[in-house]
């Protein structure tokens, strides 16, 4: 969000006669947008923060102030710590697999001469689908004794396996579905990066006798470093807040094995009706997002 790179050019007419009405115009134009954003999103954040300092659930009469009590309780709550761990595994898995996949995808798309535009459109298709639809399709891939995945594995000589009913494998399936859903955007970012690398650098490297791997290491990688960190940021940001994929795919189960932070927060609020603890989880999520965004800003500044 480089705020400064839009230079403002004013209409000379407006500059000449500076009446009160003229001065007010930009504020009037901006005010509806401010009202929506600050009034809905901003207020929601403030409201969530305030709620997290009180005890608000259906068993408590009134709204007693508890200070940081909800947060202290949260970090002693094994279910919260479980969801934090699950989130970290989910995010780490998505980053490792998603980055490798989108990097490969982008490099291959860059390497082909024909049909690049068409293939890029195809690569982006999963990103257009709703999270719910993506989750349903992935659930179907793994459901039943003769599901596509099961049948494929059996034809390769593997035995019958449970997927969504097995805690660790369910987390793996959720991670795969998430990679499928969000990595197309990372591919798009990386492809943009690859296309912006100066072609002459490759020619120079070739003259120096560099093979493919060397020129990847010495030309490509430094050239796309900002895009690489950007897609890294995107993958972690989208995964930490992932909700749409997980709720229809596993509902957080089996047990609590896929209950990541956003899902745990939802369960706290709408199943346990414990709004204050849910708000505290929300604040934890926002702190994570804020940290990631500051990192993002730093990286884009460096560029």
């Amino acid at each position: 969000m480089a705020v400064d790179n839009i230079a403002t050019r004013e209409l000379p007419a407006a500059r000449r006669r500076r009446k009160w009405g003229e001065i007010l115009v930009p504020y009037l134009l901006v005010s509806p947008a401010i009202l929506f954003v600050a009034g809905v999103l901003g207020y929601a954040v403030v409201n969530g923060f305030v709620t997290s300092l009180f005890r608000v659930d259906i068993w408590t009469i009134g709204r007693p102030f508890v200070g940081l009590g909800n947060y202290l309780a949260l970090f002693r709550d094994p279910n919260f710590l479980n969801s934090l761990t699950r989130s970290l595994i989910f995010v780490a898995g998505t980053i490792v697999f998603g980055l490798a996949l989108s990097m490969t995808y982008a490099l291959l798309l860059q390497a082909v001469r024909s049909a690049r535009g068409f293939l890029r459109s195809v690569a982006l298709i999963p990103y257009l689908v709703s999270g719910i639809a993506a989750a349903i399709m992935w659930r179907f891939l793994f459901t039943g004794e003769a599901s596509l995945v099961q049948a494929t594995l059996e034809s390769l000589g593997f035995g019958q396996m449970t997927w969504l009913g097995h805690p660790d494998r369910a987390l793996a399936v959720v991670t795969l579905a998430n990679v499928w859903f969000i990595s197309p955007f990372a591919t798009l970012i990386l492809l943009g990066g690859l296309q912006s690398v100066d072609q002459q650098l490759y020619d120079a490297a070739a003259i120096d006798g560099a093979n493919w791997f060397h020129s990847f290491l010495n030309v490509t990688l430094p050239g796309i470093l900002p895009m690489l960190s950007l897609s890294l940021m995107w993958l972690s940001f989208a995964s930490f807040n992932m909700f749409d994929i997980i709720l229809p795919l596993t509902g957080g189960g089996p047990g609590r094995s896929t209950e990541v932070l956003a899902v745990y927060m939802y369960q706290l609020a709408f199943r346990n009706l414990d709004y204050s603890s849910a708000s505290a989880v929300m604040m934890v999520l926002l702190v994570i997002n804020l940290t990631l965004s500051l990192l993002y800003l730093r990286v884009s500044r460096v560029r």
Binding site: A33, S130, A133, I136, N241
Partner: protein, 288 residues
Amino acid sequence: MAGSSPSLPPRRAPVLAMLIRKNLVWIPLAVLVAWSLVPILWSVAASFKTPLEVYDARWLPESPTLDNYARVLQSDGFWRYFLNSVFLALASTGLAVFVSSLAAYAFARYAFRWRHILLIVILVPRILPRASLIVPLYQMVESVGMLDTYAALIVTYTATAIPLATWILTGFFHAVPIELEEAAAIDGASIWQRIWRIVVPIAVPGMITVGVLSLREAWNEFPFVLALTTSMEKRTLPYQLFLLRDRLGIQDWPLVNAFTILTIIPILILYIAFERRIVSGLTSGALK
């Protein structure tokens, strides 16, 4: 011909090797394209199968049937959910584009006090994920008695669409030559006329980009409609799809898959029509 030149075979071999190496790219690429498309195609295949056939791991059904689509289209409330989705997407997109255009014009054309601060106030909420806001939003909407209303959904959808829309439109408006406006201003055109008669028509590509991105967001939206609605009259397609999956007992997979495909088709049509705009919008939204 074969022995005409002894230097030919060694030269031909590298050409062949290069050809193979060049085309070797297509093998991993085919694998990745399959990764992108198989989940969707498998769902399409299942949507044409009978409930008995659906557990055969075969791609092509023996006797393809449109029965599942017919059942979805005739199912209780489908058209209601469809119209809800269409209405919410259009209303929130229209409102977001209108509000964002006004703000973007101010940011593109005026130097005013607090300009940077106001720009930050509008842009920073992009880092707020929808799902994380559902708890306080639910409480807010409940406290003003607006649970289960279209208004609550339109307002929340619009608010989440404004940051990106304002950002993209500011860039597009800024690119509109100011001389055109100066000429109109001399002819006595008001600001309102300059925005809607001069700047917006020139920035139509930007309006389309922003509109399509916002339509996509609203069409696919799930957390807000899950948290803020209670009755089936306000359900959208994604919500109903979620409930279909949630139903106990044996899953009617052909029906669920037909439903899934039907929710994807409108957004796919939009994508095919505006592919380049969407791609450039997404990248410019991400990179700045």
